[in-house]
Amino acid sequence: MGFDFDMTAEDIKVFLDEADEQLQVMEAGVLRLEKEGESPEHLQEIFRAAHTLKGSSATLGHRKMAEVTHAMENVLDKLRKGKLAVSTAVVDTLFACLDVLMSFKEEIATGEEGDVTTEGIISRLGAIDQAATGATAPVSAAAAQGGSPVAPGGMPPLSPAEEGHLRAGQGRGLTPVWLLAAVDKNASMPAVRTFQLLLAVGDAGEAVRSWPTLQEVEEDKLGEEIKALFLTGQRLDAVRTALAGVPEIQIIELTALASETGARPAPAAQAAAAVMAYQAPEVLTPAAAPAQEKSAAAVKGGKNARTVRVDVDVMDNLMSLVGELVIDRTRLLQVLTRLETEREGDDMAQVMSGALAHIGRMTSDLQDEIQRARMLPVDNLFRKFPRMVRDVAQKAVKEIEFVILGEETELDRSVIEEIGDPLMHLLRNSVDHGVEPAGDRLRAGKPAKGTVTLEAFHEENYIIISVRDDGRGMDPQRIRTSAVRKGLITEDAARRMPDHEVINLVWAPGFSTAEQVSDISGRGVGLDVVQKNIEKLNGSVEIRTEVGKGTEFRVKLPLTLAIIRSLQVQVLDTTYCMPLSSVVETDRIPVSAIQTVRQREVIVKRGEVIPILRLIEAFELERPEGYVEPDEYFVVIVSVMGKQIGIVVDTLIGEGDVVIKPLGTFIGDVPGISGATIMGDGDVAIILDISSLINTVKAELNRTGSELNSGRR
């Protein structure tokens, strides 16, 4: 069903932009609540954003969004006024709200009504709300004991027999645990999953009561949620791991109702109330640490600057218009040169020369300004990640401290748009495969909580984005075994390959060292895709890893997509550009310096054997008639991810910034070429795809059984 809003498309666009902002504020706020515990400031911020969104969605006429934000407001208000404490359940529910709101926003953007309804989320919010109100009475007693008035939301009353069971269990030193879970909405066998979960609960301890009961499950009487109260002698995280093993089940809340160390039976008369009022150990308390500077940066970002929103297409157009100006200016300069030689001393030529110099300054200023306008702080991208890392960590049952640094670093807008997915993948990889399970970490003498860091910073003309973890690191031996098993490399070649090259095998298509394919990282999208996407941006990525210490992925990106610094060379009558980021050095060598090893032409530099590639041969260029082979060559040594080759060219022209233009769909992808550019004289030059050229050489070498850049002969 489509929507029919009483609004113009422009109004809807404004609403969507605003909703985006409010959702981001809320998400950042809830994350901070979870991390730093409750603070009136954060709660106020989330409340305000929910309130704003409620207002604007009501104006727009999206009833469901208004309803959810209204229900959120109720809970947030109680939190704000201290009538409700921030617990894992509250945080999870707030996140769930954001997911629902996000899908509503999507509905508005597409004009198509989705299948997400409000009932589930509103009842969850209601349960929390009710718990706050319902707990008010017994609270006074608990509060006197220093407890905080939090009871599991939505727990139905117990029968006297069940209460007795609960008390007896506590008497035996068992901990009562409250579980709230839900079966995935698209699970095909919800009853089976529910049954499995309840069995897992039985394995983990003694069930006091479950809603639904096992019998109800057998009769197929299922609700949206599964609740259980049980007694266990195990640690809560062990129980969580056991329950998380049930497929298609989401654990919404798992709370110990008494402290795990000293569970004492409550006085009989107060038992039921006490159970309700026991402070859950997982209730988050405000962190003692002072607020980090990071939140200051977030506040700064949240401030309303004097800005206008501009369509990216407009920026792109402006950029290419300036590019054309530059080209026309070059043409006029050529005319000027002719004028000056043909009519020496003509004052027309002088006027023209002055004007052209001025145009030159202005176009380059214009270019810089537009370039600047295209830059955004990476914060725009980075703030999407904490939530994702949290979810992945929760699913993988790992405790992760996620640190973001350098979020104020600016990057071209189009690069920011394109780099999101690769970074997300690398982060998932770090959480999923990099950081070890808590048990392994403790055994290795590391803190149970793993740290994953995402950092952006400038380095010369590039932006480096580093994704690193303090996990297990990559073991070259394991990679060797795995690569051989997957048939990526022969056993012999694997043995001879040095460790630093072995590490790079993880980029090969179809490689994944994870023994178990998880639903998080192992989704068929390998690191090879990540690498390909980064290379599409003229970037590169390298791995630094140490067994037992951790792994770092360093993504190196040009400041802007549209312009790259390049080395320009000539072969026959065509100019080729190579991204300067891949160029190691250039050299002039006599023909005699080229040797042949196993049918491959190589040169030796500083004792290292470097295979060479002649562009004339690689591109099968036609030599014009009367072409004489020179007795000296220019060689450009290029390197991508530690692999070096030398590219033989006719002449070196120089360095310069070039604007990358696509070759278009008619020409399509050409191996070895990543695009074209227009030079100052209006001619088109070809931009080389260095990593693809290196791969060609690598493939040839593999066929002849030699290695690339092993440093041996």
Partner: protein, 153 residues
């Protein structure tokens, strides 16, 4: 369907020369005509792809139409032009020997391609227009300029 619509209407056709023959294409497809300018060869592309050129700051591919149609290839002259076609895949420049004129041709003057035509793949031809005793071969440019499956280089 297109032919029915054309029955009583005038079609505007850009007429150009390849060798001794006249060819035409609908003016809606041919966006503009310009002088032959420098074309940069792109390696690892089919022979008929002459390369890429700079059309007011955009890089567009250029096809040698003679080669594409399997005609004899000759050196460019002063009259050689690049006609730019607007296709779904973007703009594509076509090298032609010369551009003659823009003609208004009544639909009734256009014959559908005959099965007798052997020289050109009938697939590429929309029809033959007879104007003042001259025969103009109307090209179906989107088909002519369609890229066949790339050969693995």
């Amino acid at each position: 369907m297109a032919q029915q619509q054309q029955r009583d209407t005038l079609t505007q056709i850009v007429v150009f020369q390849l060798g001794h023959e006249l060819y035409g294409a609908e003016i809606a497809v041919v966006r503009e005509v310009g002088p032959l300018q420098r074309v940069t060869r792109v390696p690892r592309t089919p022979r008929y792809v002459e390369g890429v050129t700079n059309l007011r700051g955009r890089v567009i591919p250029v096809v040698d139409l003679r080669r594409r149609l399997g005609l004899e290839v000759s050196a460019p002259t002063k009259a050689t032009r690049i006609a730019v076609a607007e296709l779904e895949a973007g703009q594509v420049g076509m090298i032609v020997d010369s551009v003659q004129e823009v003609l208004r041709v009544p639909a009734s003057a256009i014959e559908p391609p005959s099965p007798m035509m052997s020289k050109l793949d009938a697939d590429y031809v929309q029809g033959i227009a007879k104007v003042d005793g001259r025969l103009i071969i109307l090209l179906d440019l989107p088909r002519v300029l369609q890229r066949e499956e790339r050969k693995v280089v």
